[in-house]
C-alpha cells in the first residue's frame, strides 16, 4: 500500500512541477511576446517614454528583471504563500487573480461535482441493468451511443434553446437573476437552482452515455468469466452472480472516473459559455478574449491542482475498494 501511494504521489508531484514549469516557460519562450501585446493594449498614449515606463512596469510585475533561474525560484516562492500570488488581472483590473478564481470556483464545482458523480452513479446502474437483458439493452445502448457522441457544446445549445427559448420555462444565462443579491434565503437559493439546472443537465446527460456503455461491456465481460460460470454451475441465483460481476466491473470504472475528469472539464468550459454561467469556464474565455495571461495561467494552475486532488481522492477510494492494493499486490497500476 505504501508503495502504491508512493508511486502515485511521485507522479502527482512531478505533474505539478511540470504544470508550474510549463506555466512559467510559456510566457517567456513562446512567440508573440505577451508584454508587447499588453503594452499595446494598455497604452493610451503614443509617447515613447510613457510606453517604455509601462513596459518596465510590466516587466517588474512579471519579475523579468532578474536572471532566469532566479525568476523560476521566485515564481515558486510566490505560489507557495497563502493566498498564492498569481498576479493581477488585466481584464478586471485591479482584482487579484486568486480572488477572481476563488470567486468563480464555487459555480464550477457546483456544476461539475454533481454532474460527474450523478452521471457516474446512474450510468453504472443503467449499464449494469442493460447488460445481457435484450429488451433493455436495445434501447439503452443506442441512446447511450448518441449521448456520448454528442458534443457538450451542442447539447448545451439545444437545452438552452429548448428549455429557455422555445418552452421559456428556464432562465437563460447568468448564475442568478440580476435583481437578486446573494443571500441565504429561500428566494435566492431557488433562483440559483433554477439557473443551475439546465447547464447541469446537459453535462450530466453527455457523461451518462459513456458510463452506461462502459459498465454494460464490463458486466458482460465479467458474466462470461470463469467465476461466474462456476457460480452458476453451483446453482447460485443469477442475482448473486450479477452482484459479484457488478462489483468487479466497478474497479475499471473508478479508474475511468479519474481519466474522465479532463474531458468533463472541457465540456464544462463550453457549457458555461453557452449559458453565460459565471464559473471558471466563462472566466477562462474572458481571459482569452482580453489576452489576460495572468488570469489564464492562474486558472490553469487552479484546474491542474483540482484535478490532482480529485485523482488523489479517487486513489484512496480505490485502495479502500480493492483489497489487492492493500496487501501489496498490484491491483491498479500507477
Amino acid at each position: 500500500m505504501g508503495r502504491y501511494f508512493g508511486r502515485k504521489a511521485l507522479i502527482y508531484a512531478l505533474t505539478l512541477i511540470a504544470a508550474v514549469t510549463l506555466n512559467w516557460l510559456l510566457p517567456r519562450f513562446m512567440p508573440g511576446d505577451p508584454i508587447s501585446q499588453m503594452v499595446a493594449r494598455g497604452a493610451s498614449t503614443r509617447d515613447p517614454a510613457a510606453i517604455e515606463r509601462l513596459r518596465a512596469y510590466y516587466e517588474s510585475l512579471f519579475g523579468l528583471d532578474v536572471p532566469l533561474w532566479q525568476q523560476y525560484l521566485n515564481y515558486w516562492g510566490r505560489l507557495a504563500q497563502w493566498p498564492p500570488d498569481l498576479g493581477i488581472s488585466t481584464w478586471s483590473f485591479p482584482s487579484s487573480v486568486t480572488g477572481l478564481v476563488l470567486g468563480a470556483a464555487p459555480y464550477t464545482l457546483g456544476l461539475l461535482l454533481p454532474a460527474v458523480l450523478l452521471s457516474w452513479y446512474v450510468g453504472n446502474k443503467l449499464g449494469a441493468m442493460a447488460a445481457r437483458r435484450k429488451a433493455l439493452d436495445n434501447s439503452v445502448l443506442p441512446l447511450s451511443y448518441i449521448l456520448t457522441a454528442t458534443p457538450y457544446v451542442w447539447l448545451a445549445i439545444l437545452m438552452f434553446w429548448a428549455g429557455g427559448v422555445v418552452l421559456g420555462i428556464f432562465p437563460v444565462g447568468r448564475g442568478y437573476s440580476g435583481n437578486l443579491i446573494p443571500a441565504f434565503t429561500w428566494r435566492f437559493i431557488s433562483d440559483l437552482l433554477w439557473h443551475w439546472f439546465l447547464p447541469f443537465l446537459s453535462l450530466f446527460l453527455v457523461a451518462l452515455g459513456g458510463w452506461a456503455i462502459g459498465m454494460r461491456n464490463l458486466v458482460i465481460y465479467e458474466l462470461e468469466s470463469d467465476y461466474s460460470n462456476y457460480l452458476s454451475a453451483l446453482g447460485a441465483p443469477p442475482r448473486l452472480i450479477r452482484k459479484y460481476a457488478f462489483r468487479n466491473a466497478m474497479l475499471p470504472q473508478i479508474t475511468g472516473l479519474a481519466l474522465q475528469l479532463g474531458v468533463i472539464i472541457a465540456g464544462n468550459v463550453a457549457t458555461e459559455l453557452v449559458f453565460n454561467y459565471p464559473g471558471l469556464g466563462l472566466l477562462i474565455v474572458n481571459a482569452i478574449n482580453s489576452r489576460d495571461f495572468f488570469l489564464l495561467q492562474g486558472i490553469f494552475l487552479f484546474v491542474v491542482m483540482g484535478v490532482l486532488l480529485l485523482n488523489f481522492i479517487i486513489d484512496i477510494v480505490y485502495v479502500w475498494l480493492d483489497p489487492r492494493t492493500r496487501t501489496g499486490m498490484q491491483g491498479a497500476a500507477a
Binding site: V172, L259, G262
Partner: protein, 330 residues
Amino acid sequence: MTEIKDTSASPGPDQTGAPAGPTAGIATDAAAVESAAGVGAGSDVVPARRRFETLYFALRNAKVVGGLSVLLLFVLFGAIGPLFTDFGPRQRQVGPRNGAPNAENWLGTTSLGQDVFTQMAYGVRASFYVGIGAALVAGLIGMLIGFVAGYRGGLIDELLMAFTNIVLVLPVFVVLIVLNAYLGQRSLWIQALVIGVFSWPWVARAVRAQTFSLRNRDFVDLARLSGVGTLNIIRREIAPNMASYLVMVFVLLFAGAVLLAVLLDFIGFGPRDSVSLGWMLDQARQNSAIIYGFWWWFIPPGAAITAITGAAYITNVGLDEVFNPKLREM
C-alpha cells in the same frame, strides 16, 4: 491479469466521452491479441485466408457497414459538397439576413447573409482534416512510446510510463487553451498537431500492455536470436500482430479529436480564414442565433458532429466484434 486491468479503463475514458473504449480495452487485451498472435503464427497460407475472413465478417457486420457508410457519406459531402454551391464559406450577403431554409439557400443564412449549407460542406471537410491529422500524430507518438516501453522494459519503461502518466493526468483541454492562447496560430494543421501531441497517453499505455504480452512469444524470441534489431522486431513481428487493435485506436482517436476541435473552435480558437463546425456554433452563439431561434444555424453543425463521432464509435464496436470472434453474435 493485472496488465489487463491496467489498460481496460484507459482506452475509453480518455477523451471526449469515448468510453466505447472499455470494450476495446477488455476485449482486445484479452482476446484479440490471443487470436491474432496465437493463430496467426501458423503456416504461410493462413494469413491470406484470415484477411479474407476478416473482410467477410466485416461486410456482414451491420455496425461496421452502417458506421462506415455514414462516415463515407460525410467524406463525400465534405469532398464534393462545395461543388454544389456558388458561394464562398465566408462570403457575405449571398442571401437575406437570418433567412430560413429555402430553395436558394438550402440550409438558410446567417446574420451576415452567409450560406449555411456552404459553411457546412467546408466545415465537415475541416473536421475530417483535424480528426485524421490529430489521430495520426497521437497514434504515432503513442505507438512509439508504447512499443519501446513495453518491449525494452526496465528503467526505460519506468521513465516512459512516468512521463505518460504525467501527460495523462494533465487536463488536456485547459493545456490546449493555454497553448493556443500563446501560439496565436489558427490553422487547421497546427490545431491537429497540438491536439495530437496531447491525446496520445492512453494509446501508449494500451500499446505497452499489449507489447508486454507479446514480447516473450516464441516468434519474437526467434527474431531476437537471429539478431534482428529492436525497431525491426517491433515493426515486423509485434506491430502486425496488433494491427487490428491499432485500427480501432485510430478510430477512437479520430472521434476524440473531432470533439476536442469543436470545443476549441467554440471558445474562440476557430480558424481565421476558413470555417469549421465548431466555429459555426461559436458564430451562432455570438450573434444570439439561439435566443432568436434561428435553428438552421446551430442544429446542422451539431447534428453533423454527432453523426460523425457516433458513426466512428459504432464502427469501432463493430470492428471489435469482427476482430474478436468471441464477441460475434451470429
